[in-house]
């Protein structure tokens, strides 16, 4: 999905790589109790494979000019300052992507889809 070309050759980074990279970063963020399915395809996938954990669950990455836009669908627990954890999730995602690939993350949209029971 991301293709960069320089005088030495071509660099291509797939959608799957970004989804998994970001998925791993997000799921280790404090406050993220789980990931929610971000689209119907993911919903059906986890309905069929209930046991399996998909690292790209709840992550959607789009190209946005020279950078990326990331959508995250997360599940939180009760009694959490959501604005504070979202700030730290956004920072973590930015940092991880920029460190690993050098690409700029333009936007990180975080959707709190559900709450886990206490």
């Amino acid at each position: 999905m991301i293709r960069m070309e320089n005088h030495l050759g071509i660099i291509e980074i797939s959608q799957g790589y970004f989804s998994k990279l970001i998925g791993n970063a997000v799921s280790s963020c404090f406050g993220v109790a789980g990931m929610a399915n971000s689209n119907a395809r993911q919903g059906i996938r986890s309905f069929i494979n209930k046991q399996q954990i998909f690292p790209d669950q709840g992550v959607a990455v789009r190209r946005d000019g020279n950078g990326l836009t990331v959508d995250l669908h997360i599940i939180v627990t009760y009694g959490l300052n959501i604005s504070a954890i979202v700030k730290s999730i956004v920072n973590k995602v930015r940092y991880t992507v920029e460190e690993a690939t050098g690409l700029e993350v333009h936007k990180v949209n975080v959707f709190v889809d559900a709450m886990k029971n206490d």
Partner: protein, 551 residues
């Protein structure tokens, strides 16, 4: 027994204690993102709780105090560590619900609930962080209370367990070990526990000024030393940024907030107004430079209330000086700065659209500063630098971090490559496309150079005497001759590939005469006249009698 009053005072004490040590904790912050704000976040979070708790009466139940603290922490939570802290206290408050005062058993149960709440909130808990520290602290407290210890001993056990766990964090999290620190959030929690201990044990609240009533660790008094109680940061820094582009200023705001307090930033799209209390005004100024020119820079020392103190002003002045050399607004999309030597070649680059020429070449490498000045004097949104010599590429690349302009350095290793690149600059396509197209064009060009040997030496088993003529193909010496024209002719023969090459350019330098150039042109005309277009340019460059370009 721990009463509501004790818990209230303990939180106030802890808030004061960690505020004094904030910087130390900030400095340890490398995980999850090395942004150096953990101490600040934790101290702000717990201070929010302390402020709300302070108004509670002395005879409050511990349950009510814990509830109040937990809800204040939740609302005031800042950063990861602040959120974790708020969850720990939420669980803690749940454990103390309905109690008037807590004994050892209650305390250890409450701590355990705090740990559970914190762990439940994360999918993949990272060990070696504040989570590990609080978990092991709670475990230690539980085994102490199971052994029948009193409430103070239980709390002591929690502190000890936490401190031991903290010391282990580098073993659990490699990134900490690499940086040679313990986990910042864990350290913050240990400080909070210590601050609370002081009240539980001796009923002494750490004072706001950072001076404690009881002797504490040496590093504490050093970190907590503050001349003026109410002033946390030394410099009041204000300036206005004339925005040069439209990049999001959120990053700047986040950075400024991490530098100090009282940060106010207003961005209306064209101007950003900044006010900040910080100990590092230079960093703030530096960061803001990325957004455009600075005006009305004002840095006051709030402690001494007089100006012109220390390096902060100096930094601002250099920033101002840099700003003055910059043009008002960028006029065009792309600028071109080329390094070249010789009147003819310099003119050639100017004709090809270069905005500024930096004089220099093989024997006279320009400094980074020379290139930087040329870049700053060029008014364009994006500037391409053509170093035109492999020894200058590095110096040119160092310009990028020194300037706030958008710059690309093309790795052109010779004058012909630079010319080819300059020819391919297209103002209608993007920076990346241009970079690629220019580089591709440059790579296609073969460069021949003719010069003389400066001293006796051996080149590839051939003896070279001082003064002999050397011919180089793409940087390698391949021809040793006595006449520059012959050397140039031989090199061209090597470089010219029938079928693919079609243009030969001869640039003759100050060491070669026009007659020699015409002689060479004639020779080449006879051989390649039908296949190639030959042009002759008076470059006037030093050192090289001929620069040959074949493409």
């Amino acid at each position: 027994m721990i009463t509501g009053q004790l818990l209230r005072d303990a939180i106030i004490s802890a808030a004061h204690y960690i505020s004094g040590l904030r910087k130390e904790v900030d400095a340890m912050n490398v995980f999850p993102v090395p942004d150096g704000d953990t101490g600040t976040n934790m101290s702000m979070t717990i201070n929010a709780a302390a402020r709300e708790a302070a108004v509670l009466p002395d005879d409050s139940d511990i349950s009510a105090v814990a509830d109040k603290i937990a809800s204040a922490l939740l609302r005031g939570a800042r950063g990861n560590s602040g959120v974790i802290l708020s969850l720990i206290f939420r669980g803690f408050a749940k454990g103390l619900k309905g109690l008037k005062a807590a004994d050892g058993g209650n305390l250890s149960d409450a701590l355990q609930l705090g740990v559970d709440a914190a762990y439940k909130a994360v999918m993949k808990p990272t060990e070696g962080t504040i989570l590990t520290v609080v978990r092991l602290g709670a475990e230690n407290a539980r085994s102490a209370s199971a052994g029948g210890a009193d409430v103070l001993a239980v709390w002591d056990a929690a502190c000890k367990g936490a401190a031991q766990a903290l010391a282990q964090t580098p073993e659990l999290l490699p990134v900490l070990k690499k940086a040679g620190v313990v986990d910042a959030g864990g350290q913050g929690l240990v400080y909070i526990f210590e601050g609370m201990s002081s009240v539980f044990k001796n009923n002494i609240i750490f004072s706001d000024s950072g001076e404690s009533a009881e002797p504490v660790k040496a590093n504490y008094s050093a970190a907590g030393h503050a001349g003026n109680e109410s002033i946390a940061f030394t410099y009041c820094t204000e300036f206005i940024v004339n925005r040069a582009d439209t990049q999001d200023s959120l990053k700047l705001r986040a950075y400024l907030e991490s530098l100090g307090d009282s940060a106010v930033m207003v961005d209306d799209g064209q101007l950003i107004k900044v006010h900040l209390h910080t100990d590092n005004p230079g960093n703030a100024v530096q960061a803001a430079l990325e957004y455009g020119q600075l005006v009305n820079i004002k840095i006051d020392n709030m402690r001494q209330q007089h100006r012109n103190v220390s390096w902060g002003v100096e930094q601002a002045e250099t920033a101002k000086a840099a700003a003055e050399t910059e043009p008002e607004t960028p006029q065009k999309k792309f600028g071109l700065v080329a390094v070249a030597a010789g009147a003819g070649i310099e003119n050639l680059f100017l004709e090809l659209g270069a905005d500024k020429i930096v004089s220099g070449g093989q024997t006279m490498n320009p400094s980074t500063e020379d290139i930087l000045n040329a870049v700053l004097a060029t008014s364009a949104e994006h500037i391409f630098i053509l170093p035109n010599n492999k020894n200058i590429i590095m110096a040119a690349e160092q310009v990028i971090p020194l300037s706030n302009r958008k710059i690309s350095v093309l790795h052109t290793r010779s004058i012909p490559q630079g010319i080819a690149a300059a020819l391919n600059l297209d103002p209608d396509i993007s920076v990346e496309e241009n970079h690629l197209a220019m580089m591709k064009a440059a790579e296609k060009v073969s460069t021949g150079l003719v010069t003389f040997a400066a001293r006796d030496s051996t080149v590839e088993d051939k003896k070279v005497l001082k003064g002999q003529i050397l011919g180089m193909e793409n940087g390698k010496i391949t021809v040793v001759e006595s006449s520059p024209v012959q050397a140039a002719y031989k090199i061209t023969k090597h470089l010219f590939k029938k079928g693919t090459s079609s243009v030969i350019t001869i640039i003759y330098g100050s060491d070669a005469s026009e007659n020699q150039a015409q002689e060479l042109e004639k020779l080449l005309e006879e051989k390649y006249g039908s296949d190639a277009e030959i042009s002759v340019i008076n470059g006037g460059q030093p050192v090289y009698s001929f620069i040959l370009s074949v493409e």
